[in-house]
């Protein structure tokens, strides 16, 4: 099977549309999940998905190699942010929405074990809702990390925040999800 970068190069250098279609199919699931975590509705996510690939197509000539998934995640995030801006729903990354880290810190001592968590009854929609309710910064770090597979250094650079902030936001996201999803079981 061809590497992602080979597929992208095949399109950017030879105009091979089939290679690009293969790349779209290969990255469809995580990218939609990523966008659905960032945007309020599935329809918004679908539009942003379309916009992401339009941007990939336009900027394919500038791709110089490297991991394709983080490259795509950065473009997808940018498309999602622009969409949120259009909707007037973009909140500053610094805004601490919801209960904040303090809520996570109030986790009961009898927190669920990993096995219990794995068997969680939280549905896909519950999880999406939980992710969407995270503050902007932690949510973006979480999605870029688990779906976009960016390193924390790359995430910090992308969000233009210090590495420590990116790590703290990831911790906040994890703690909040633990709290929210723990209650679903």
């Amino acid at each position: 099977m061809e590497e992602d970068s080979e597929l992208l190069f095949a399109y950017s250098r030879r105009g091979d549309v089939e290679s690009l279609s293969a790349l779209v199919r290969r990255h469809a699931v995580w990218m939609q999940a990523f966008l659905r975590g960032l945007l309020p509705t599935a329809a918004d996510a679908e539009d942003a998905f379309q916009e992401t690939w339009a941007r990939v197509v336009k900027s394919a000539g500038r791709y110089r190699g490297g991991k394709v998934r983080p490259y795509l995640a950065v473009i997808a995030r940018s498309a999602a942010i622009d969409r949120l801006r259009q909707m007037g729903r973009l909140v500053s990354l610094d805004v601490e929405g919801g209960e904040g880290a303090s809520a996570a810190e109030r986790l009961p001592d009898g927190a669920p074990s990993p096995r219990e968590r794995f068997e969680s009854k939280a549905t896909a929609e519950d999880v999406r809702e939980a992710v969407r309710s995270l503050p902007e910064g932690p949510r973006q770090v979480l999605l870029m990390r688990i779906e976009g597979e960016l390193s924390f250094k790359e995430i910090a650079s992308e969000l233009d925040v210090p590495l420590g902030t990116a790590l703290t936001w990831m911790r906040t996201a994890t703690l909040k999800l633990k709290e929210m999803l723990g209650g679903e079981r």
Binding site: V24, G37, F49, W53, K58, P114, T174
Partner: protein, 131 residues
Amino acid sequence: MNEDRELLAFVKGRLEEGVASSPPRLAEIGRAAAAESFARVAEGRMRRRRTAALLVAASLAIVLSFAVLHIDFSPRPRDTVACVIDLLRTADGAETSQEALADIGPGEASVAEMLLAWQDAPYESAIADLQ
């Protein structure tokens, strides 16, 4: 740490659950990609043509500038003769070049011969010969 990893794997799994594995509007993306690729090829071709035209123009400019320089720096026979006539005029006390030419009579054939010989000689040589 392990617990966090499991939680994140669970979250990731749930986020991807129910997401269509076939991408939405793939045909539309394919069409846009084909159009963009076509535009890029056309642009590349245009850029190559422009570069080729520029190269040709630059080459022509270089060749022409050499030709012009050559013309400028080589002595022009007419100028040399006019210069010699002026020198003769000054030496003979004639007022105009025509007078100086008129002075070159049949008896002074050697001067006329010199002028003929100087026609193609460089300016500096003509001056040196006069001196």
